[in-house]
């Protein structure tokens, strides 16, 4: 088992990406709360983490659980589609309308698409993050992409 690095390093290295992913998954408005919840949950669990090999994947998995919690708390109401971006500089994601369309997908599809393309997670990890089987994750991703193609065509 490799040693756990100081938690601040996780924040320094991954906070921007976690925030970007959460913006994609829950929208700009809910992202800050989900961000706080993500890192607090991570900090709570951190000393007992056995494997420090993939801390980024671990954080993104927690982030997506928090995104799903967020949607459950909102009673799965769809979020407003388009958002006016005021501060584009710190967001590494492309902003050509694609992410607005992603933001309009149903929660599971949206989470699957963001996990795959913003966070580059494999299907198995997407499944873990969403709490479903890899098959179901693949299906959500497929459905989400199909819908995006139609929206953006």
């Amino acid at each position: 088992m490799s040693k756990l690095p100081p938690f601040q390093l996780l924040i320094d290295e991954h906070a921007t990406e976690v925030m970007a992913v959460l913006r994609g998954a829950v929208g700009r408005e809910g992202a800050e709360d989900a961000f706080q919840e993500t890192f607090l949950a991570a900090l709570r669990a951190y000393p007992k983490l056995h494997d420090s090999g993939n801390l980024r994947g671990w954080l993104l998995t927690i982030a997506h659980r928090k995104a799903i919690d967020h949607h459950r708390a909102k009673g799965r109401r769809p979020l407003p589609v388009a958002e006016v971006r005021e501060t584009p500089v710190e967001d590494p994601l492309p902003d050509d309308g694609v992410w607005a369309a992603v933001g309009a997908l149903p929660p599971k599809q949206r989470a699957a698409v963001t996990l795959r393309y913003a966070s580059d997670l494999p299907h198995a990890e997407i499944a873990a993050a969403l709490g479903c089987s890899p098959e179901a994750a693949r299906r959500s991703l497929h459905e989400g992409l199909k819908r995006l193609r139609k929206e953006l065509a």
Binding site: L4, P6, I11, M19
Partner: protein, 187 residues
Amino acid sequence: MTETALQRLTERARDEGLLDVAYTTADSPFGPLLLASTRKGLVRVGLPNQDADALLVDLADRVSPRVLEAPAELDEARRELDLYFERKLDHFELPLDWRLSDGFQLRVQKAIARIPYGETRNYTEMATRAGNERAVRAAGTACGRNPLPLVVPCHRVLRSGGGLGGYGGGIEMKRGLLELEGVLDHR
């Protein structure tokens, strides 16, 4: 990423008891210091020539990996150190967490903490104070492993013959601190 989001995170972590090691860097006449504290008190001071990242990794390993940059937690330490460097403070009062030391080393370091401002001792005296007058070499090692330099003033411990001995922050810094305290003349 906004600063406020990160600051709020640190505050919530502290409020929920998840901030085990807080740290910050502080300016000094000798360069930036690393200051780290636990709930009990100051636990580590890193001198300018020491690798701050390595010290934080060591704290994560030996105290807790819940290490966060939280400058507000170290306001008192920074305040007292600032006053010390301005020669307006000759006795630190902030609480200390001694958990990084034990045994003979801890006894030596606690004896060092009692050396008054502007005075010096030698390694033999420190060995005696710690209860083993023959353990001079071990007393020297204990000085070198002092986790709280400046606040626990190991720069006041010199070689028996009058030589300066070593210092974790470099011999120039030791000389500078002794000049600051008026033990050595400015050259």
